[in-house]
């Protein structure tokens, strides 16, 4: 049986208390939300915090506040909460779809939105037991000196594998971070670095408290995920697209995000701009898909062949845009993800 290493356990009741516990601790103290990322990592000795600080008992972290102008989603909402709540449809469909496609139903019952946004980057040289990593003499990200994916690289290229981040970036989300020294709001796309080790700009003493979304009135969004099986698997490529369409189906605003193709979700600015003022006909979609696919740089550290992942990116963008346009994508959904989102 894989066992956790020893740790101290803290269970604050208030945000203040939590912020105080994290203060000055650096990575030695880590917040524990659903634990579905952190605990496996600890069992594999990838992350060995001395103290775990549970967020479970901190008041107010699992609430949703709705208003006409904006909504606030508590960081400790579970992904099941998000996926099953019909209010997360229409404009926020991409978020709902992304949440519903994470891992398995059991994991979604435990996993939180905040944890999903803070998810460690992944690489199949790194997401391995201690003994396995010893057999390759470790790697840059943990205990080693070389990156086995790109041995010439000084930088780790582990993959951002969160499903909800690309969706939320496409929806223009911001996050609120709280620490002992104060709080700040960051645009979600600004939260990430394209670096497998320093992938997140959250300081270790900061707690991600909530996700903020402006009104998405008039928006439509869609999320597509590539994985081998109908459940369990992390995304190894994903596309989130959101657009505001005029009555004549002309694009007034759009954001396309490509996930799991780098150490952070990639915003496809070129493709998004290209769509402005155009209607979503086949030519426009093809052109935008080509532009968006260009930025994907998959490497050989996930499931599936990297050149093939690169190759199908445009196809995934096409699916997302066709769904925005209103095409019936049942068959493609069913065959790719085995989910139909009735």
């Amino acid at each position: 049986m894989m066992r956790l290493p020893l740790f101290e356990f803290r269970a604050p009741r208030t945000l203040d208390e939590a912020a105080r516990i994290l203060d000055g601790q650096g990575p030695n103290t880590m917040p524990l939300a659903g634990g579905t990322d952190l605990l496996p990592n600890m069992k594999r000795r990838q992350q060995v915090p001395r103290t775990l600080m549970s967020l479970r008992y901190v008041e107010g972290l699992n609430q949703v506040q709705w208003s006409d102008s904006a909504s606030r989603l508590g960081a400790c909402l579970t992904l099941t909460d998000v996926a099953e709540d019909p209010r997360f449809r229409n404009g926020m469909t991409a978020l709902s779809q992304a949440a519903a496609l994470v891992a398995t139903p059991h994991i979604r019952n435990m996993a939180t939105l905040g944890g999903n946004l803070c998810l460690d980057t992944r690489c199949n040289y790194y997401d391995q037991n201690y003994e396995w990593r010893k057999a390759i003499d470790f790697c840059l990200k943990k205990d080693g000196t070389i990156c086995w994916v790109a041995p010439g690289s000084r930088k780790c290229v582990a993959v951002s594998s969160t499903d909800t981040a690309p969706a939320l970036i496409a929806l223009g989300a911001r996050v609120r971070l709280v620490s002992r020294s104060g709080e700040r709001e960051v645009t979600l796309s600004e939260l990430y670095n394209n670096d497998g080790i320093n992938y997140i700009r959250r300081r270790p003493d900061e707690i991600l408290v909530e996700v903020l979304l402006d009104s998405l009135h008039g928006w439509k969004s869609s999320y597509w995920k590539l994985r081998r099986r109908g459940s369990f698997d992390f995304p190894v490529l994903s596309v989130a697209a959101a657009a505001r369409l005029s009555r004549q189906a002309v694009v007034e605003d759009a954001r396309i995000v490509v996930g799991s193709a780098a150490s952070r979700p990639l915003v496809a600015d070129g493709a998004s701009k290209f769509l402005l003022g155009r209607s979503l006909n086949s030519e426009t979609i093809a052109e935008a898909a080509g532009l968006a696919a260009r930025i994907a740089k998959p490497l050989d550290n996930t499931d599936f062949d990297m050149t093939w992942r690169k190759r199908v990116t445009a196809e995934f963008v096409t699916y997302a845009l066709r769904e925005l346009r209103g095409d019936d994508m049942h068959v493609e959904r069913g065959s790719l993800t085995r989910h139909s989102f009735e």
Binding site: R3, L6, E8, F9, T80, H106, I107, S340
Partner: protein, 171 residues
């Protein structure tokens, strides 16, 4: 009031409701619910196949919802309600799901069975008329290497009919 134990103590202590019964248990603080159930509470019905969240064999119901006991800290179970396969039957009779699984070949080696059973129970509690697609989706978090799942789906469907009949006649 929950008194949360601290890991630096030699042992942790929680009080929870296990299969309808209040239990007090002491355990090494690094243990997950899976280890506490199996090693400290003698409830070996809950199985494990990876301890990393990748197989689903360790599923139990925590406050009514299926979760993976290998990824829940024991210390976070204070005051909570846990249901395992040992708690499925009622007073000496099998739960209709258990009957159906036994009769319809839904348990071959039986190793995934406890996890699948509690997961199916939670589904039927919420959706007494679940469709085949809902069953497929709900069970997609537990791997079964023996059956190919089809007899499991049929057993869930058969139990669903029986439960509906029982509820009908109870009224």
């Amino acid at each position: 009031m929950i008194t949360l134990p601290v890991a630096s103590q030699k042992t942790s202590h929680v009080r929870m409701t296990l299969n309808g019964e209040q239990v007090d248990v002491s355990f090494a603080p690094y243990k997950t619910l899976l280890e506490v159930l199996r090693e400290d509470l003698g409830h070996t019905g809950t199985k494990h196949g990876c301890e990393l969240g990748e197989c689903g064999a360790c599923a139990v119901l925590l406050d009514g919802k299926p979760v993976l006991s290998c990824l829940v800290l024991g210390v976070e179970c204070d005051s909570r309600n846990v249901l395992t396969v040992e708690g499925l039957g009622l007073e000496g009779t099998l739960h209709p799901l258990q009957d159906a699984f036994a009769d319809l070949g839904a348990a071959q080696c039986g190793y995934c069975t406890p996890a699948i059973l509690v997961t199916a129970k939670s589904l039927l509690d919420q959706h007494p008329h679940a469709t085949r697609d809902q069953i497929r989706a709900a069970l997609s978090g537990v791997l079964c290497r023996c059956t190919g799942y089809l007899q499991i789906f049929e057993a869930v469907e058969s139990a669903m009919v029986k439960i509906a009949q029982q509820n009908g006649s109870a009224r």
